[in-house]
């Protein structure tokens, strides 16, 4: 089975006042159609940057891509014609669920207006965007028959994300909705263009635990029913365990381990992964934590960036980045001294 999306050896940095911050260092990633892939890591590890790089929405002035490819159905999104990507891929084949449902809606329009606005441009029932290209976007005409079909699709999808009374919901303003309702709307909006891949950036961090369980269940169910692949970035290992098929771990801009979900939690190999799992609070109160701090990315440590905090680190770890080490089917680790006894 060929992968839907493959990121190969992607390196990029941001130009800052203090110098170039090396945010991604030769990162690899691969998602198959219909798969839910968890991208796990702590804040500042580059998971959101990677998600945004796939979507192509990083600030162009500051971003310096120094190598690698982002292949979506065989096309490199980094070198493809930007207009084609914008029309065919971004917002159509790849859509996005943001982290914060509170600030992602425009407060002065009803949610219905905002959803129809998306469909005016990105509806699966339209090959061409409405109106001639020379007309300002706001003035272009939205064909009435397509608008009606789109509206029916919206109502049907709002029902699928378990929002009560969809037609009333569309007339409400964002402040009238709770966080869980807004996140359901965001998921519905991401699914409306009929995407192959949804990038969900920490979709449940702003939500309460009972609502989180509902939303995660919804994402898993919709992904399976509609055969949509989901790239779920999260710092919550519990959320990753709940709905992911496979998990990729990142640390300080480097990918350190990738495994199927069962292997990941049963036999973690990278020292960082094992320590991360040991940091989870437990009833006995023995959670250990990881001493030290995440390194700065302007002058990151050489070799494996985890070596200053790693008790297994030796000479080679400081010199060069460990190569990919295949431990089993769908399980690789980039470490010179992985935990092999568990595998």
């Amino acid at each position: 089975m060929t992968a839907l999306l493959t990121v190969e050896e992607l390196s990029l940095g941001f130009a800052t006042e203090a110098g170039l911050a090396l945010v991604l260092d030769r990162v690899n990633l691969s998602i198959e159609a219909g798969q839910v892939l968890g991208l796990v890591g702590e804040s500042g590890c580059g998971k959101t940057t990677l998600a945004r790089a796939v979507l192509g929405v990083l600030p162009p002035d500051q971003t310096r891509i120094s190598g690698g490819r982002v292949l979506f159905r065989g096309t490199d999104l980094l070198t493809a014609d930007p207009a084609t990507v914008n029309q065919r891929v971004r917002g159509r084949a790849i859509t996005f669920v943001p982290q914060d449902p509170f600030s992602s809606f425009n407060p002065v329009f009803t949610v219905g207006e905002q959803i129809m606005e998306i469909l005016k441009w990105k509806s699966p029932r339209a090959d061409q965007p409405p109106g001639p290209g020379w007309l300002p976007a706001v003035m272009s005409h939205y064909p009435a028959d397509r608008k009606r079909a789109d509206r029916d699709a919206v109502l049907e999808l709002l029902d699928a994300v378990q929002l009560p009374r969809p037609d009333q919901m569309l007339r409400k303003y964002p402040h009238e909705l709770s966080g869980g309702q807004r996140q359901r709307l965001m998921i519905a909006m991401a699914l409306l263009p009929g995407p192959d891949l949804v990038i969900a950036d920490e979709p449940t961090t702003a939500l309460d635990v009972t609502i989180q369980a509902q939303i995660l269940g919804l994402i898993r169910r919709l992904a399976t029913e509609r055969n949509v692949a989901v790239l779920l970035t999260t710092h919550d290992l519990g959320a990753a365990y709940e709905i992911c098929d496979a998990v990729n771990v990142m640390y300080a801009g480097q990918d350190v381990e990738s495994a199927t979900v069962d292997r990941f939690f049963a036999a973690p190999a990278h020292p960082y992964t094992t320590k991360l799992l040991a940091s989870l609070p437990d009833a006995a109160g023995t959670a250990s934590g990881i001493p030290g701090e995440v390194p700065g990315l302007i002058t990151p440590p050489g070799g494996c960036r985890f070596h200053p905090r790693c008790e297994r680190a030796t000479g080679p770890c400081r010199e060069a980045r460990p190569p990919v080490d295949q431990l089993g089917a769908g399980h690789w680790v980039r470490c010179y001294h992985p935990h092999r006894e568990a595998t």
Partner: protein, 320 residues
């Protein structure tokens, strides 16, 4: 039996909702009749979803929100209507750690100045004595002396928590209210911050009230837990009893919603539907009945009182 260090009796904090022309159009019952006793040296957990009134409860104890009704007792003294001067002496031993330490430290002040401030207000120590006190506290929370000359934005989130805690501990309080002490922290940092809390409790002989929506944190830290829903305590008791055998349907759903790595996937079995109702327009009778699978006619007309059951108490007509 030792007397409780902090006691609440039927505490109510209501916020008036005002409409056009400043007319009263209703009230939000953020805390609506909460009674609890805090024993010296214990870690008491207060759990609930956002909007359930747990932070308001903590702030009412601190005198930040004025209680609408009810009593607050601290070391045998009623403190909810003290004169300002008397309040100041009480406040030294009763401290509140804010949810976001990054936002509660003055961005233009160096860490050192922020740490001096409580001592300037509450004590008459001279600068040298204050400095000695600060350095010893800073060492206790695991920060180097050099941090005194840094600004809040120059240190990480975990370190900001430590500074926020150091700032409170300089006054040697007896009770510390920790409001969401680990929200916004990564798990690896969270684990070290939690073990710091445990260590400081032993060193400084503290009593904690830990307010959190994170049940995993509550479970590792607390000896006793109260679960709040829309301004009321629906269940309270020893931590193990609450987590192993929750009796209120809401507590059951909360415990069931925690992802358990290695266990059954919660998303396949989770049964609680809907979201909390609008706190300005509460349902009649039991507040949980709109989402409760066990709701019956009795629940709609009569609000259940918190009554003892097993090792804890529960406010439900049909507890498990």
């Amino acid at each position: 039996m030792t007397p409780p260090i902090l006691g609440l009796a039927d505490l109510q904090v209501h916020f008036t909702v005002r409409g056009p022309f400043n007319r009263r159009v209703g009230s939000i019952k953020a805390v609506d009749g909460v009674s609890l006793d805090l024993m010296p040296g214990e870690v008491f957990g207060l759990v609930g979803e956002s909007g359930c009134g747990k932070s308001t409860l903590g702030k009412a104890v601190m005198g930040i929100h004025k209680p609408t009704a009810g009593e607050i007792w601290f070391e045998g003294q009623r403190i909810d209507r003290l004169a300002p001067a008397a309040w100041r002496t009480v406040r030294r031993s009763l401290q509140y750690a804010y949810q976001d330490p990054g936002a509660s430290l003055d961005p233009r002040w160096k860490i050192g100045s922020s740490l001096h401030e409580p001592l300037v207000i509450h004590t008459d120590l001279d600068a040298a004595a204050r400095d000695a006190r600060i350095r010893s506290i800073l060492e206790a929370v695991g920060l180097p002396d050099t941090h005194l000359d840094l600004y809040p934005h120059e240190i990480s989130g975990g370190q900001q928590r430590r500074v926020g805690l150091a700032r409170i501990l300089t006054l040697h309080p007896k009770v510390v209210i920790l409001d969401e002490p680990t929200s916004g922290l990564d798990v690896s940092v969270q684990a070290t911050v939690l073990s710091l809390f445990r260590g400081l409790r032993a060193t400084f002989d503290l009593t904690y009230v830990l307010i959190s929506h994170d049940l995993a944190v509550i479970r590792t830290m607390c000896s006793r837990v109260a679960v709040m829903y829309l301004g009321r305590i629906v269940e309270s008791g020893p931590t193990d009893a609450i987590f192993d055998r929750p009796r209120h349907p809401y507590t059951r759903s909360l415990v069931a919603a925690i992802p358990k790595i290695g266990g059954v996937r919660v998303t396949r079995t989770f049964w609680l539907q809907g979201e909390p109702p609008d706190p300005g327009n509460l349902p009649t009778g039991c507040r949980f009945r709109t989402r409760c699978p066990k709701a019956a006619d009795l629940c709609a007309c009569e609000e259940p009182a918190l009554s003892p059951l097993g090792s804890g108490s529960v406010a439900c007509h049909f507890p498990d």
